[in-house]
Symmetry: C2
DNA sequence: CTCTTTGCAAAGAGTTTGCAGGGTG
DNA sequence: CACCCTGCAAACTCTTTGCAAAGAG
């Protein structure tokens, strides 16, 4: 059964912080960003609320980089690029080619697709320059 | 500088075990599968060798499910389906539509793509039947 | 009041690492 | 005989959880 959510300033602040940023932060990055503004904030609360927000579909895990989960408040289907050197995660604007394939996936596998994750891997512009000089 | 690899029966066994299976096992699953056959095997060795094999490109991380990394010895680009209920990971045979887009990704972002990960998410056939009855 | 949310600290889970001994070329 | 590989256990990192107090409706 469903839990009735109450108003939570912390949760709202976490969602706002995530929405206002495009670098797909980790829980710790969000914590560090909010801490100055909300000194009583604790890291456990960030984890807890990210999990709640993800359940509610307001937030999405876009990648797992160097052992840490990366979050995104942009929930429309879009791709990402993950730099294998610096770990940076950036948006890639490609037309959504995968959602139209859900029916085909279902036909092939019997599985019911509801979402997908697409991430490219390699070197970002900076790291490529630095490492290829 | 490069390390000169020596022959290692354990590493070979791990790669063989992974190659002979299509369920994208975790390190622990591989360990459990090999243990009867190689009783002196230790879990640390499985982790160490999976990491070496990944460096060499013989093995790939295809997904991170329920906090565990899933490995695959099939290294050609292909998609996966991850069941959000049972955590099963299965291959999806779709034409590779992403590799041809590397140039476009580079143009858009400046990043040099070398690989990609595509995974669909939802309920597998069994879980869907069980949960939708 | 009742039930959710939070801080804090401890617990958990998965993975990595140091070390001493064994194996390979 | 130099250097890689391994078992074992401890260490590490990220994330989750229990509890008592604070906050929302």
């Amino acid at each position: 059964m469903e839990v009735k959510r109450k108003n939570s300033k912390k949760r709202t602040a976490i969602l706002n912080a995530l929405s206002s940023v495009k670098d797909h932060p980790t829980a710790e990055m969000l914590y560090a960003a909010l801490k100055p503004e909300i000194p009583e904030l604790s890291l456990g609360t960030v984890y807890r609320n990210l999990s709640i927000l993800a359940d509610e579909g307001l937030v999405v895990n876009v990648a797992h980089v160097a052992g840490q989960e990366r979050y995104d408040a942009r929930t429309d289907p879009h791709a990402h690029f993950v730099c294998k050197h610096c770990g940076q995660v950036i948006d890639v604007e490609l037309p959504d080619m995968m959602t139209p394939l859900y029916a085909q996936v279902s036909e092939e596998t019997g599985c019911v697709a509801e979402s997908y994750k697409l991430s490219f891997n390699g070197l970002c512009e900076n790291c490529n320059r630095k490492l290829t000089n």
